[in-house]
Amino acid sequence: MIINVTDQAGENHELEGLEGWRVMEVIRDWGLNIKAECGGALSCATCHVYVDKDWLDVVGAPSDDEEDMLDSVGDVRSNSRLSCQILCSDALDGLKLTLAPSAAKD
């Protein structure tokens, strides 16, 4: 499956994802600018992404816990998600995301 990621500098990247991986892990593995501080424990919000509007329904809504974590960043939009909470699957082949400024490494 392919995930299309636009980084904070506006550059597009076509990443190969693996079924069952978290989208955060794919982005981190490809070396893009994502801090992902807690490693997927839903405890930091440093893997914040904006999901392309066309993919929002497929990806689904954030859980209450994810919403709580999103409170800890200052650049939340209506299409914000934490990429550690999106699991790669065939249904997400072609997914389009943009890395949020708050996901950047220092």
């Binding site: 801090k35 501080e37 807690c38 919403e67 409170d71 800890s72 200052g74 939340v76």
Partner: protein
């Protein structure tokens, strides 16, 4: 006057790997002191995910971050390491005799033969909201913590966030400020229900303003803000403000470690894989903060690194002393140290 402490080893960071280092050092009769920016042991495990299950610690099919920390504290208790919490190491200076002098932001000076950096992803520091130019106002009119309440007296204060810190300071500061605006992105709060109810009462009584939105940009000059721009569902707003308190929690940053003259790789410290020593002899780095080819950021790896580091540290702390490698299962000498024989 500064407090001066002399010890064999100073461990910077009291996360799992640092704590286990105290065990390995203790088996070799090496005394250590811990310095940590947090107010308790456990590092990232205790701060970020105390209740989250960890599945890859050997012999623990599942253990939470807090349980792991508690167990490590029990394991190192026989060696009585000393902890210095709520402090940051500001500087490290190598002395002529090869030892080190460390200064903390709590006006302490440590003298140690060996330094072990076990600081994980760095030190926990407040999250800076992505607002352009906010740095120029920090510690002048933008604060990430309230040190002195009087700094907020008769000021127009904007507090951003929906957690306990935001709510607590909204309630505490309201009686002394000129005006107070609480900004949160949604009408749900991750704070104590009693605080949320009290805040809502104050809004009803007109004592504070509550706005749904996020901070956009700041207006001001010479470090002093005068307006905070907010993005809300109803459009953009400008709120008069002389003090801004963003409460977005903590994140990890390398911090002063970057200034200690160690060879770095990105935001990590380069070490060898024999001793886990940095580019400065006598300074070691273990756990997530170090880097070597093949490094895996696992607690498991940090434990292994701590054991090898301790053997190398022994040669520095007690030069010339022959170290016989022993197992805790069979050595009565080690068992006596652990208080079980």
């Amino acid at each position: 006057m500064s407090t001066e402490i002399t010890t064999d080893v100073v461990v910077i960071g009291a996360g799992p790997c640092g704590l286990f280092a105290a065990f390995e050092l203790g088996l070799l009769d090496i005394k250590c002191h811990f310095i940590d920016i947090l107010d308790r042991p456990g590092g990232q495990c205790a701060e970020l995910y105390p209740e989250k299950p960890i599945y890859d610690i050997p012999a623990f099919p599942v253990v939470t971050g807090q349980q792991l920390t508690d167990n490590l504290m029990a394991q190192i208790a026989p060696f009585a390491p000393e902890f210095h919490f709520n402090r940051m190491v500001n500087s490290i200076e190598k002395q002529e005799d090869g030892s080190f002098k460390l200064e903390t932001d709590a006006d302490e000076i440590f003298h140690a033969k060996v330094i072990v950096i076990a600081a994980g992803g760095g030190s926990f520091q407040p999250k800076r909201p992505p607002v352009e130019g906010i740095e120029q106002y920090e510690n002048k009119s933008v604060f990430y913590a309230v040190r002195k309440m009087d700094d907020f007296r008769d000021q127009d204060v904007v507090i951003v966030g929906g957690g306990d810190s935001a709510l607590d300071w909204t309630l505490n500061l309201q009686p002394i400020v000129r005006s107070l605006t609480l900004v949160h992105r949604r009408d749900a709060f991750k704070a104590a229900p009693a605080s949320v109810n009290k805040m809502k009462e104050m809004v009803m009584e007109g004592k504070i303003n509550f706005l749904l939105g996020q901070i956009g940009k700041l207006d001001g000059e010479n470090g002093q803000i005068n307006h905070v721009h907010l993005t809300t569902d109803a459009g953009d707003l400008s709120v008069p403000a002389t003090r801004l308190l963003p409460f977005f929690g903590l994140t990890m940053k390398l911090g002063p470690v970057a200034d200690w003259g160690l060879e770095l790789n990105d935001n990590t410290i380069k070490v060898d894989t024999e001793k886990f020593e940095t580019s400065v002899p006598g300074i070691f780095a273990i756990g997530d903060i170090n880097w070597y080819p093949g490094k895996l950021k696992l607690i498991l790896s940090g434990f292994h690194e701590a054991a090898l580091m301790a053997q190398a540290a022994k040669a520095i702390v007690s030069p010339g002393e022959r170290v016989v490698f022993q197992y805790t299962t069979s050595s009565t000498k080690l068992q006596k140290k652990l208080g079980v024989a």
